[in-house]
Amino acid sequence: MPAIINIDKCTGCGVCDEICPGDIIYMTDDTSKAMVRYPDECWNCGSCRIECPEDAVSYIFP
């Protein structure tokens, strides 16, 4: 599964959007939260989790 962003923890800082190597994370229209806009294109690399200051990103491998 692609990266999962916990919207309760996300403060909308935008760092995951900025650094995603695949351009799959975007901010919501009101820029308050980050979202995985292209989930089929996630590499599961973990870059967003490394950078997230709020520990809001997780991965599940079902």
Partner: protein, 553 residues
């Protein structure tokens, strides 16, 4: 459509912010050139194969008779059965120590925290401990900080889709911003390609085609723009393949094997020694082929066995994974795989292109004047230290070339032609999503261009791929992100056609399972110990030629 155009000039343009590209930009800027580094992804801090870090680096440090440039080249010659130009490998071996020192100078810490020394292990391809284990989790931060200090001009989220050529010499590149859609014309005196390999060519065994071994955003962009500019590609029939824990994307073999883990079959037998004198330390291609063979003969599945290892070794393996691919630890946990208790099931990955491609000489120059290349987009794949070392060399040579060029080119005719092609899926949208075209390409590749190739199948594949290429004109893009994917899909189809065409030409089998012809199952050194060169000739059709290997191999 209203697209803004930005035009800029730079002495050296580096395309690709991965390992090779970063080092090329550093080398060029240090020589006082004006340098522009372009990256397709969001940030060079998380792009390329080292997007989430690295845990090992192959070095030549003179710590013993085995640890010299000469010994390395000799060993390389005996462990790589494919077609390799040892002149380029010699450049790497000669420069490796200098570049290693440079990396330490800019802040990469290769020393082991526990001992304060280099902690070296034997990886794949030999039993000599060339590989340094280190905490390289944030190595791209180090690169990024140094490039910032040097004030290299950095353009991120810029997809380069064409090279500019004048009188046979490269004069720049064009591309677009993947969010704003802005068009970029970058005029340059020299260009360095560090665009990586090509993934997404074959279906991923995980069922998710972006969950690939190498970055799924490496789509052969450099291969294709170089080919269209007249450069030679070579070794393209040798499709690279690795193995990884079943259902995951990250091989982690160097870490496992280097710390003493072994491959075993379903009967618990160690089997690598049977087929290769280096056993578990065999070159990656041999490891993959041995696993394929073991499973084909009914002794699969195969596993990595770490259960005999002590706490220290397990700790180092874990730390290595966390430094290079932290999500692999989540994967093992979620699959309830404990390396101290369980055998880790390993499976073959999708085939890809990595270290096959743009033919470079010992100066990292392609066959087009002013066009340099390093790393996985070239025909010399030497992993991380190769990308660092040859990337740096490419940057130095690019500066030397740029110094002899007086003026920038200002031709607009080819710029406009390229611009029309790049934006076509958004200016003339058809009814087909890029992903549907790409999925069909993967189906063609896995049916006829995978592990078992033959003439009939390859001819079918080439015909099908050419038809698909025509049909890809009906791709639609509803955003600039989708425009990037549409251009990637087009590039991948071109790479796929080159692979199938070169594979049809090479009437032998070599470097199994990279090129396995069921109709020519033997290696034939008499006729095929040499390069198959692919270039575009004067038109759209590919032109093939054969070049015997000059250096001993």
């Amino acid at each position: 459509m209203n697209i803004k155009t930005n035009e800029l000039r730079t002495d050296v343009l580096v395309i690709g912010g991965g390992t090779a590209g970063c080092l090329a930009a550093m080398a060029a800027k240090q020589k006082g050139c004006d340098v522009t580094l372009v990256e397709k992804g969001g940030s060079i801090r998380h792009s390329g194969s080292l997007a989430t870090g690295v845990d090992h680096y192959s070095a030549i440090l003179g710590e013993g008779p085995w640890d010299t440039p000469e010994a390395f080249v000799n060993k390389f010659a005996s462990t790589r059965p494919g077609i390799t130009d040892l002149k380029v490998v010699s450049t790497y071996a000669k420069e490796a120590r200098k570049i290693f020192g440079f990396l330490e100078e800019i802040g990469v810490n290769f020393k082991d925290a526990k001992t304060g020394k280099y902690y070296r292990i034997a990886g794949l391809g030999g039993r000599d401990p060339h590989t340094i284990c280190f905490e390289g989790g944030r190595i791209k931060d180090v690169f990024s900080a140094y490039l910032g200090k040097l004030q290299v001009r950095l353009l991120e989220r810029l997809a380069v889709e064409g090279l500019l050529i004048s009188s046979g010499r490269v004069t720049g590149a064009v591309g677009f911003h993947i969010r704003t859609g802005d068009f970029y014309i970058i005029r340059a005196k020299s260009v360095v390609l560090g665009t990586g390999g090509a993934t997404r060519l074959f279906p991923s065994p995980t069922g998710r085609d972006f969950f690939t071994h190498a970055p799924p955003f490496n789509t052969g962009d450099g291969h294709v723009i170089a080919l269209r500019a007249g450069a030679d590609l070579t070794n393209m029939e040798f499709t690279f393949c690795s193995v990884s824990p079943r259902g995951s994307d990250s091989p982690a073999i160097t870490g496992f094997i280097g710390m003493g883990a072994t491959f075993v079959n379903a009967r618990g037998e160690r089997f690598m020694e049977k087929s290769h004198p280096l056993g578990d330390h065999a070159p990656r291609t041999a490891i993959v082929n041995n696993i394929l063979k073991e499973c084909a003969e009914g002794r699969g599945p195969c596993f990595v066995d770490c259960r005999h290892l002590g706490e220290e070794a397990i700790g180092r393996i874990t730390k290595g994974i966390l430094n290079e691919r932290p999500t692999l630890m989540d994967f093992l946990k979620h699959k309830d795989l404990d390396m101290t208790r369980d055998l880790i099931p390993y499976e073959l990955r999708e085939m890809e292109t990595q270290g096959q491609g743009i033919k470079v000489d010992e100066n990292c120059c392609s066959t087009v004047e002013g066009l340099f290349a390093a790393g996985d987009c070239t025909n010399v794949g030497l992993a991380v230290s190769g990308a660092c070392t040859l990337g740096y060399v490419a940057g130095e040579k690019a500066v030397k070339h740029a110094a002899a060029i007086k003026d920038f080119d200002d031709d607009l005719q080819q710029v406009n032609k390229l611009r029309d092609t790049i934006y076509y899926p958004i200016t003339n949208p058809g009814n087909i999503r890029p992903i549907d075209v790409e999925d069909e390409m993967r189906r063609i590749m896995s049916t006829w261009v995978g592990f078992n190739r033959n003439a009939d199948g390859l001819k079918t594949a080439i015909k099908a791929l050419k038809g698909l290429k025509d049909n890809s004109r009906a791709m639609m893009a509803r955003s600039f992100h989708e425009l990037m994917r549409a251009n990637e899909t087009r590039n991948l189809i071109d790479v796929a056609i080159v692979i199938a065409t070169a594979a049809l030409e090479r009437k032998e089998s070599r470097s199994l399972p990279a090129h396995s012809r069921t109709d020519y199952p033997r290696q034939d050194d008499e006729h095929w110990k040499g390069y198959i060169i692919v270039n575009r000739g004067d038109g759209e059709e590919l032109k093939l030629s054969y070049q015997p290997l000059k250096t001993a191999n």
